[in-house]
Symmetry: none
Subunit: 251 residues, 2 copies
DNA sequence: AAGTGGTCTAGACCACCGA
DNA sequence: CGGTGGTCTAGACCACTTA
């Protein structure tokens, strides 16, 4: 069996120290709730400078294994940790990732009653009434739309109509405005699709050519859906980019 | 040095320095993609030791404002760090969202030198050497593959070969194994694509039919790419699902 | 060869707080 | 007061990568 090839890579002293300490904690050498030796003592024990010890402790801290307080010492908080990855976005605009002043063109606005597909999208019952918008999004100065979107919102939130009709508005501007108080979750699905003929005409691509299908549900407290959308993005006009960063979670 | 002992509520020097730098970045004094001055230069400018500078930079790094690389310098990656929505996954398997015992079939394994496309995918220079795998993924009992994947890994991590060849392995099992110490970030891009003829044959779909194109980079500490992949998912075989939850600001 | 961030040492004083 | 972690200085060498 092939051996690991990391023998040649010598890890920094503080990393090795952190691993040693984590292992000791895992094995119970230092028990939950107890304290690690003081930093200066760890220096003496392991024969390193305090900076190195603190760097190692910082790693354990980030992993959630220990917590440190002046005077009180370094307390064991958990015996092991595992990683999870987190992706963050800072604004709704990031979620939709529109660069360079996108423009909207609202194509239609009407009250509809949900059919099977819409009900599935919104997680509602059939024949429920929703306000439906159809829109295309553009980059300024580019004739071809970036996307075609069907947007549904509960009639109770129908003030969206007013905000949508104003000066090339962001379709989600009303959600942006309500987001701090209302929308607590967005559920998004992405899959490949063949662009339907009607959308293809608007998007100026060949019918059934490749496209991105993105559906979103906007939920408020209590898992109530207040809005939902389906967007179609043709090939080469849009890309979803996501950075996952590691985050430590205690067991 | 009996310097700054006047005010009692005074924040640590490195915190103030971090705030100064964050403000400068926000205002555009240092633009996106540009570099901050070298650490020693920052020491001179602000009249502090390198340790203090590094502590400040570490804060900016944690906020996601900068990234640092030997020789290359400290580059600005974002202008502000407000995060509102977060999507979490707990394991790599969640990222790849494979339900019900997926199976792998490795089609090829060879050492390649990066061409333009591969270099772009991996963020490396052309003609760098990488270990390349081609594979298809299946649901048990289903003849049609879920996806076709090209997977690249640095030869130094080549023990992946052994783990891949074993009993229908998860292609990323080696990353799972190394994850605790190594992979701290995954950058993912998703877009629509027409399935290329070769992939189409393997996937048993018509050439140029709609597909999902997903590229991923796996980064370790220091923003080094240790692996990357491109996967093609035909229509109706796969869906990426993401839940964004609001995260209350902790300013 | 030069210059970057990464690591590490040795030592200092400070802020906090229970004994 | 003593002893903890928190902050900071001054300086050193290393690893890496582009020119």
């Amino acid at each position: 069996m092939i051996k690991h090839s990391e023998a040649k890579v010598r890890k920094p002293r503080y990393v090795r120290l952190a691993q040693q300490l984590a292992e000791a904690i895992r094995k119970g050498t230092y028990g939950l709730g107890e304290c690690l030796p003081p930093e200066v003592e760890l220096c003496r024990i392991h024969g390193v400078s305090r900076h190195t010890v603190r760097e190692a402790l910082r790693q354990l801290d980030e992993m959630g294994l220990i917590s440190r307080r002046r005077r009180e010492g370094t307390t064991i908080r958990a015996r092991s940790s595992r990683r999870r990855y987190t992706a963050s976005i800072s604004t709704m605009a990031d979620l939709f990732q529109y660069v360079r002043k996108p423009r909207y063109r609202i194509l239609s606005e009407r009250l509809v009653s949900a059919g099977a597909k819409t009900a599935a999208l919104l997680g509602c019952k059939r024949s429920e009434r929703w306000l439906k918008f159809e829109a295309c999004r553009y980059h300024a100065g580019v004739a071809e739309p970036i996307s075609f979107t069907e947007f549904y919102v509960r009639p109770a939130y129908g003030d969206v109509g007013a905000s949508l009709r104003k000066r090339n508005p962001l379709i989600y501007s009303f959600i942006e405005r309500h987001v701090d108080e209302r929308v607590i979750e967005i559920r998004q699905k992405v899959r490949a699709t063949a662009v339907p003929p009607e959308a293809a005409r608007l998007l100026r691509v060949k019918p059934l050519s490749p496209g991105l299908y993105v559906s979103r549900r906007f939920l408020v407290h209590g898992n109530r859906v207040i809005a939902g959308s389906v967007s179609i993005y043709p090939e080469n006009r849009f890309e979803i980019s996501l950075d996952w960063r590691v985050e430590w979670a205690r067991d």
